[in-house]
Symmetry: C2
Subunit: 340 residues, 2 copies
């Protein structure tokens, strides 16, 4: 099958770019020094490729992601890097022996939930500057003691410097990550354990503290991360068809905001022309020249929620606007970790 025969809208991943990005990261963060975050791509088939590249421990954002990874045989070391109160489904995986599951805790309530739900291992989640989950550094040691008293194994600490992940100014990003990781180091001294987990695609080479980096977006990237000076290339596209031409010169595509996440802005057109706006099932292009039936490629602004809108991604190599119709589809990966 060629991309010209695929029903649109469709998600397309460039396998050459994927392999290059994975190799670039693995050279710096080999094996367990990377804990790929499956929330970025929500696909066990993609995760399997990362496991084959040596990264066999994974990071998840939802219980459904943990369950799906376990069911796919990728459960040797799964971290749910969020607070969770409904822990019974996680505990069932641990008791059933299908996965090793560690959860992030930042309060007595989440410690109690982990213990009663049957989750045996935790990380103490520490606030390193982003107003989201994570305890105050001053409380990290006390929470570790409480977790131990509840019968939980404390593997170490976690702290996600998400507020710095998309800072385009490298100097500001690097110095910010240093300050955040100084907080995490302090917490680690109080908590102990082997694991210091955190970071992401934006801090892949400047986070010198974490023992495991929680990066996921790097595999295929998006236009928001592309603003940074990272060596990873964009390899994710939404393939669309021109279905209408306006008398004013605009073109209408059959892919809209139900196929493309809009939280980080509209998508970017590959090739000549610009995106005017997106509606539910349409994207309108201007400043270019198109014919009805033309196939075009859009780059999403944010990979994670765009992946979550599709049931599968088609795989091709050397995907580009020129010749997109004749590009061979080499495989497809189900996006099977959606929902909660």
């Amino acid at each position: 099958m060629q991309l010209g025969e695929v029903n649109t809208p469709a998600l397309v991943a460039d396998l050459t770019v994927f392999d290059t990005n994975v190799a670039t990261m693995a050279a710096r963060r080999p094996g367990l020094a990377l804990r790929p975050h499956v929330k970025a791509f929500k696909s066990t088939a993609l995760a399997q490729r990362l496991a084959e590249a040596g990264h066999t421990a994974f990071c998840c954002a939802t219980v459904a992601e943990v369950e799906g990874m376990a069911a796919a045989g990728l459960g040797s070391d799964l971290l749910l890097a969020n607070q969770v109160l409904e822990t019974e489904r996680l505990g069932a995986l641990v008791v059933g022996g299908s996965a090793r599951v560690t959860v992030a805790v930042d309060s007595l309530e989440t410690i109690a939930a982990a213990a009663t739900g049957g989750v045996a291992e935790v990380l103490i989640d520490v606030d390193v500057g982003m107003p989201r989950g994570g305890c105050a550094v001053a409380n990290a040691g006390r929470l570790a003691e409480a977790a131990g008293a509840a019968g939980l194994e404390v593997r170490g600490v976690m702290g996600y410097e998400g507020h710095l992940m998309h800072v385009a100014d490298t100097e500001r990003r690097v110095s910010g990550v240093e300050r955040s990781m100084a907080v995490l180091t302090e917490a680690h001294q109080a908590v102990g354990g082997d694991v210091v987990s955190g970071g992401g695609t934006g801090s892949w080479d400047c986070n010198q503290v974490v023992t495991e980096l929680q990066a996921g977006s790097y595999v295929l990237m998006d236009t928001d991360y592309a603003r940074l000076d990272l060596p990873f290339q964009q390899g994710l596209f939404v393939l669309a068809t021109v279905i209408s031409l306006g008398s004013g010169g605009h073109a209408v595509l059959d892919a809209g905001l139900k196929a493309l996440a809009m939280d980080s802005g509209p998508p970017t057109l590959v090739g000549e022309g610009e995106v005017l706006y997106c509606a539910d099932e349409h994207t309108v292009l201007v400043n270019g020249s198109w014919q009805v039936g033309d196939r075009v490629l859009l780059r999403p602004a944010h990979i994670d929620p765009t992946m979550a809108k599709h049931e599968k991604m088609y795989l091709a190599t050397e995907v580009s606007a020129a010749g997109v119709v004749e590009t061979e589809v080499v495989d497809s990966w189900p996006i099977d970790l959606r929902g909660w």
Copy 2:
């Protein structure tokens, strides 16, 4: 089951509000004077309720929606109100007798696609002021002739005044709709046929031209439409759980932008407090008082893409922030028209 026992994040619809909204619309637009747009809710179970209220002709935005409606036995009169080039799946429904399918056409290419794909009936889609699909009014008559020459039955015209749908100033909205519908009337005179299709929730009472109104959002509404002076009430919520409390006083919910569409802005919290921001799987609240484990309700800014993020919606009556935990779940409707 009570809402306190539902795994979060979860979509919740207020059945009382739904029934009231449906009755309000049906009083003004009874039976076939309304062609409910399933893109707003993507659920055949919800559509079935509208059919029982007398609205048995439906509007769809994707081929998958048409197929799903036909499979659910709701195919007596389905309009695909978009241009489409891949018409084989639609033609198969017509040939198989499972649905009456009409498609919007606005070019010789889409006319040819309808004819070769086996779709027998079309509407001429006319640009009434929104830069999206639709031919110039001057070309409408010629396209109708071309459709007839291709063996297609031309049922009439369609023109969607979407650029006016969310104009909060009623006077501007009303006068804009009048101007747009004057264009559609001119096209109808050139094209003929019984059907003049268009409009939406925002023009439900001021569009005096269409024979059938394509409204969908009115059934449960969203905060973007709530800015207008419409009689329809908001009945759609995302139920979330407080999973973490920051030392700065913020609360973290387990529902984020993968559960809530962001194209029309962040969601609104029901009750005391405000939304600071949304991340993939989190929403952060400020200016309120919460405990870990609290359940809260968020109102989405845009109903259509929010529905598309969930597999089902739970139904309850008189949903409100106070007492949400004890609110009985009376049923759930699958959101079974997702994808393409």
